[in-house]
């Protein structure tokens, strides 16, 4: 399969797609280093080099590829878009109109995507305002670094320009992601998160080597490889539900008569639940930021104590619970047993021993809800590894093989490689026919 990479570049069509995706990734990284107007680039650099303890923003900073702390044009990253799509997807369960739109098919989905975009803009305005307000107080964004990150005399107009720039940056990221999905390879949004995490990877790994020496460094690399293998192992595990197609004549041709299977993955939801859970846990931290600093209300200190610091058991339990919830939730919205069983019935397929129609849908639901439990527990366990390792090694929060980061990296890598592979097979197949 390694030769597939070389072959992928020899296929003109696929080469174009890969190069397109790489170009977009380059644009994305470029936007992550360009500072927003009004930000003192020198002050930020000083603060970053002097101080590695970024406290509560480390995970968000990881997701934005270091752009958040640099206060760059793309500082907010894809986070607002992710949060918006969680909210919209949750609302499809609550609001009847959204549910109707979802059932409407393609045009309804397009409308929902449109709502998600509007909500993203709203969230981006909120988050950029919060971020800028925080950065204007010296020593808040970087604890112990009292440089003026934002020029103090820019005035209200300057701040409006900054908010507009960051919001515009977020919408550009949204567009870039959709471009990758349409014309490149893989899923744009996850590929961009992947890029962001990959950007912080070498630095934080090297930081461990410098702080702790070769021993721990090698242990961590080895542990990382084991985790990669484990993630691949579970991602590839399938429960295959046999499907038999009845033979039938349409005109003078015979169709069907074949037997296939429906692959139900143990982890049908992929990495989405982890992304959802961690971006949802960011919201309380954001709320604390908006509360007053000097005289914080009771709920703010409570959140600060239990839900912001990653090493507290309550935080871990919440994180784990959210991941399990979102795994079931995401499986429920992406895999519709009724639809699958209807499709099977339409084309004359059936599961041996189970009647077509409602019993089939119920059987699929039965298997899916049971097979998802180990999948959900696995996702939660892998994501907790960084938090537990944090306690064991006293390593910093940016522990690069941290579950969330590695799950996203491996999951997206696997998905993208598989997509390239399948497109390659398509090409070669066509090539034979011509």
């Amino acid at each position: 399969m390694l030769t597939a990479f070389v072959r992928a570049f020899r296929t003109p069509d696929l080469r174009k797609k890969i190069l397109f995706a790489m170009g977009i990734m380059a644009l994305f990284r470029l936007g992550s280093v360009i500072p927003t107007p009004g930000v003192s680039y020198k002050a930020v650099q000083d603060c970053i080099s002097n101080n590695s303890d970024t406290g509560l923003y480390s995970l968000i900073n990881l997701f934005s590829g270091g752009a958040l702390l640099k206060l760059s044009v793309f500082a907010l990253g894809i986070m607002p878009y992710i949060t918006a799509s969680i909210i919209v997807q949750l609302l499809t369960v609550v609001i009847p109109r959204f549910e109707a739109l979802k059932k409407e098919g393609q045009s309804g989905t397009a409308r929902l995507t449109q709502y998600t975009r509007y909500l993203t803009i709203g969230l981006a305005i909120l988050q950029s305002t919060g971020l800028i307000a925080l950065a204007r107080q010296p020593g808040q964004l970087f604890t112990g670094c009292t440089n003026d990150i934002i020029y103090p005399n820019i005035g209200i107009f300057g701040i409006i320009v900054m908010v507009l720039t960051m919001t515009a940056g977020t919408s550009v990221i949204m567009w870039l992601g959709e471009l990758i999905t349409d014309r490149g390879v893989g899923n744009g949004m996850s590929l961009l998160i992947f890029t962001s995490i990959a950007a912080g990877f070498p630095t934080s790994l090297w930081a461990i080597k410098i702080e702790r020496g070769w021993g721990l460094f090698l242990v961590i690399v080895a542990a990382g490889l084991v985790i990669v293998a484990l993630v691949v192992f579970v991602e590839q595990a399938q429960r295959r539900i046999p499907v038999q197609y009845a033979k039938r004549m349409i005109g003078r041709r015979q169709y069907g008569g074949s037997s296939t299977y429906i692959p139900l993955k143990v982890n049908q939801a992929g990495v989405i639940p982890v992304i959802f859970a961690s971006s949802l846990l960011y919201l309380p931290a954001l709320a604390v930021n908006l509360a007053s600093r000097t005289n914080p209300p009771g709920w703010a200190t409570w959140i600060q104590r239990y839900l912001v610091r990653g090493d507290h058991p309550i935080y871990m339990a919440t994180y784990f619970g959210l991941i399990v919830f979102f795994t079931y939730f995401y499986v429920a919205i992406t895999f519709n047993p009724t639809e699958v069983s209807d499709n099977m019935k339409k084309y004359g397929g059936f599961i041996p021993g189970i009647r077509a129609g409602r019993p089939t849908a119920e059987y699929l639901d039965y298997v899916l809800s049971r097979i998802t439990l180990p999948g959900a527990l696995y996702l939660g366990a892998i994501s907790l590894i960084p938090l537990i390792a944090l306690g064991l090694f006293h390593a910093n929060q940016n522990f690069p093989f941290g579950g969330t980061a590695i799950l996203i990296i491996v999951g997206v890598g696997l998905e993208t490689v598989k997509q390239i592979e399948s497109q390659l097979q398509q090409r070669n197949y066509e090539g034979f026919l011509r």
Binding site: L2, M25, L225, Q238, V266, I354, Y363, I371, P374, G413
Partner: protein
Amino acid sequence: MTETRGSTAATPERGRPAAKKPLPARISLFYRQVMAELRKVIWPTRKELVTYTTVVIAFVLVVIAYVTGLDFAFSKAILAIFG
């Protein structure tokens, strides 16, 4: 084939039995059903696992190298402009 939810239902897809069992019994039933399904899962073979792991690691390393290269070049450029 699969364990049933209640003694009255012949197959699991007949729906819930009329009378609910106590919670611990239902949890242990669910657990056994999960285990039964897990046994039917096709796990990847050793060869498959090795191939996929190698390919994913190679892919990830290539992307990390690419992104690191980009970042290095861009931060040099930005430093030259703003620094």
